[in-house]
Symmetry: C2
């Protein structure tokens, strides 16, 4: 027998529907443009019912951020010191894929963090952890002789990759380069490959293989399994 | 005798004061957070007086954008095919300096362009022109043998520089790296030098000179003279 009653199951299901509908609306129109009433209308439930599950839009935004943090933290956890260049690109792919699911967070992070101080510290911490994880992986690749990277280039290179991760979507949007999710991820991976290219050892062969992987978005995704 | 009457002079002066005060407030708090009434209060004039000069906040935003476009366009105009690396960094410096004076435009460009469609096309065009101008200068440097840059690297390198130009400020803000205007410009120039470094020919000597120039922000600024 389940410990969860039928009523609780329905409530959980409604809460989930609210979260996923909000995520879609935020991603499509931006968080600022979407109200609680919009969300209720989209779901065809009363604003009172919505309020029963989430006490306001802030609670929804924070719950979505928690989902994002949970997912991304698993991708960032404990990189393998023996990683290959392909493993690194697989990591980049997973990280970009996860972030593009929650892309409303990157649309206007400055205002979002000012509006929701409860989100601010966690989001900042997550971005710093991601940049540190990238730096650590680059350092492993350097020690494994897969990258000819001077030690003092680790920090600026990780920062440039962080910039692509968190700001490229807005830049493409401003320039009106319309990309679907797949096209966006491919373009970001291509930019990061460009950044790494001067430091690749085997060069042409590695680049060829990586370009092919990026073109097909076929990465060994063991680490993404739940 | 001046063709401008005393009353007109006062009106022009008030209009200027409104613009510069608005610019300060927008840069400090973000355009979204500042209302016409805030601007009038800061200037100690009545909202009616403000309205006499500018029919709403949109008109002020557009007037400021026009100032920015005018200034930046002069910097972007007709780069010299014989330019040196130092000339290129002088151009980057002037361009960053000008943009940081109008930094509210870069705080949240996606929402700003959606809110003010009249700004949207001009801003997009300006960013594209800047990226093209950077690409053209990189190409000159390549042809002058100052950069060992493969031809197919021009576009991705210009795009990465464009990303630093237009998005780095937000990225530093999110990471809580607090920088004053000078520190911000130095950090951006340092990032761009890092991007170019693999392609520099003389390397160590050039890098030393450029690092010194960036450290002191002392560039030959002929091209900025009015």
């Amino acid at each position: 027998m389940s410990a969860v009653s039928g009523g609780e199951k329905v409530a959980t299901k409604t809460a989930e529907r609210i979260l996923f509908t909000s995520l879609d609306l935020f991603n499509e129109h931006g968080e600022t443009a979407v109200t609680s009433v919009d969300i209720a209308m989209e779901l065809d439930i009363s604003p009172g019912n919505l309020y029963y599950h989430f006490k306001g839009k802030e609670v929804i935004v924070l719950a979505l951020f928690d989902m994002y943090r949970h997912k991304l933290s698993r991708i960032l956890a404990a990189p393998d010191p023996d990683l290959s260049l392909q493993d690194f690109f697989c990591f980049l792919y997973l990280s970009l894929d996860c972030s593009s699911l929650f892309r409303f967070l990157y649309r206007n992070p400055t205002d979002l963090m000012e509006k929701y101080p409860a989100l601010s510290r966690g989001f900042r911490q997550l971005l710093l952890t991601r940049e540190e994880t990238v730096a650590r992986q680059l350092d492993y690749l350097r020690r494994n002789q897969q990258l000819k990277l001077p030690a003092d280039s680790l920090a600026p290179l990780s920062e440039q990759i962080g910039l692509v991760f968190s700001q490229a979507a807005n830049y493409y949007l401003i320039k009106e380069q319309m990309l679907d999710q797949k096209g966006f991820i491919q373009k970001c991976l291509g930019s990061i490959l460009f950044l790494l290219r001067p430091y690749l050892k085997g060069d042409s062969e590695d680049v060829g293989v990586l370009k092919e992987l990026i073109g097909e978005l076929r990465f060994n995704q063991e680490s993404s399994d739940e």
